[in-house]
Subunit: 188 residues, 2 copies
Amino acid sequence: MLPNPYDHIPSSALRPISGAVGDTVFHQGDPTHGLYVVQTGRVHLERVDPDGERFIIHRAQAGTSFAEASVFSEVYHCDAVIVEAGALIRIDKASVLAAFADPAFARAYGRQAAQQIQAQRQMLEIVGIRRAEDRVMAGLIAGLLEGSIVEFAARLQLSHEAIYRALRKFVQDGRVMNPSRGIYHLHP
Amino acid sequence: MLPNPYDHIPSSALRPISGAVGDTVFHQGDPTHGLYVVQTGRVHLERVDPDGERFIIHRAQAGTSFAEASVFSEVYHCDAVIVEAGALIRIDKASVLAAFADPAFARAYGRQAAQQIQAQRQMLEIVGIRRAEDRVMAGLIAGLLEGSIVEFAARLQLSHEAIYRALRKFVQDGRVMNPSRGIYHLHP
DNA sequence: ATCGTAATATGATTTCAATCATATGTTGCC
DNA sequence: GGCAACATATGATTGAAATCATATTACGAT
């Protein structure tokens, strides 16, 4: 996220929003306003099915944006619900569209989008690997083991126990080094 | 993909490529050339780990593009291998970057990217659902059951047997209609 | 028409990851 | 220093989905 595309948008177009847990930033079917950048807190995008059952489309973390697609469409079929209090910035739809006339914004946006797409593709391939061991190895190769094993497990959508077992196996097989408790990395 | 961003690129910048199964379009670490559009056939993007084991980062289908991120970086850490013979188009890196000066291209690219990101996010949430029944229901709600059950199963990363069982359950519970063999849809 | 292939559909069995249980190590805090 | 909360780590059990097996049906090619 080095060259943040939103640096190229005039600050007059940025609308700060603060919200409490449970607040709905926008509703499914609302005429859309623009895109949102999460500065702090967490937001879930949820879709409500005909039976009233709701399921989560996306979990937006601090430092990420959401509802980008709404800039290009009349309606957006999600509720955005604040699940951890924080601060958001809303950028007007028209302002985003106007910003595309600035090649610097356009390229920054394109770069960010392309990287995100690539990262997501990789995640889809990785979580599609059935065997826990293979998935963990793919995660290691992809450099996803940053931070704790618990976070790594969440990223890979495996239980942390499954991660420990796979790592132990790799260490026994000499494929992974475990220089100290909680530290694992691939043999060079 | 209605307004295809690549319609805005001068045809002089489009380089047709044809390849046979097993051909490598580009190698990991090659200086990058641009992005590729798959017209027919299929291409895999693979990464080779230190042990020589290769794992698939992405499967590019006909009608999709790949290596978009390479436009913004010096190197791209994948091999692109043709797994089904077909025709590709390569668009020069410089041509893509230049095209961002055209607001029509920039917006079309932004729209396409935003939609793709949204779709991928949704897929990540869906394949993250553990229970087969819940995953199938989420897939139905998301409108992913287009075409055959086998394709649906592949999209959801479940065995087709698991799909049939879940669908049968839903039909028994009256949540899904099965007007004829192979046809399933949600009750309104 | 019929042959072959693939999709649809279910039942039986196996596998493997989740879950449960438990212990130790680590970190921050009053 | 001692306690609480959490991460690390493994073993035992369970459960759910994959796999295997087997029909039936659809569809195109010859």
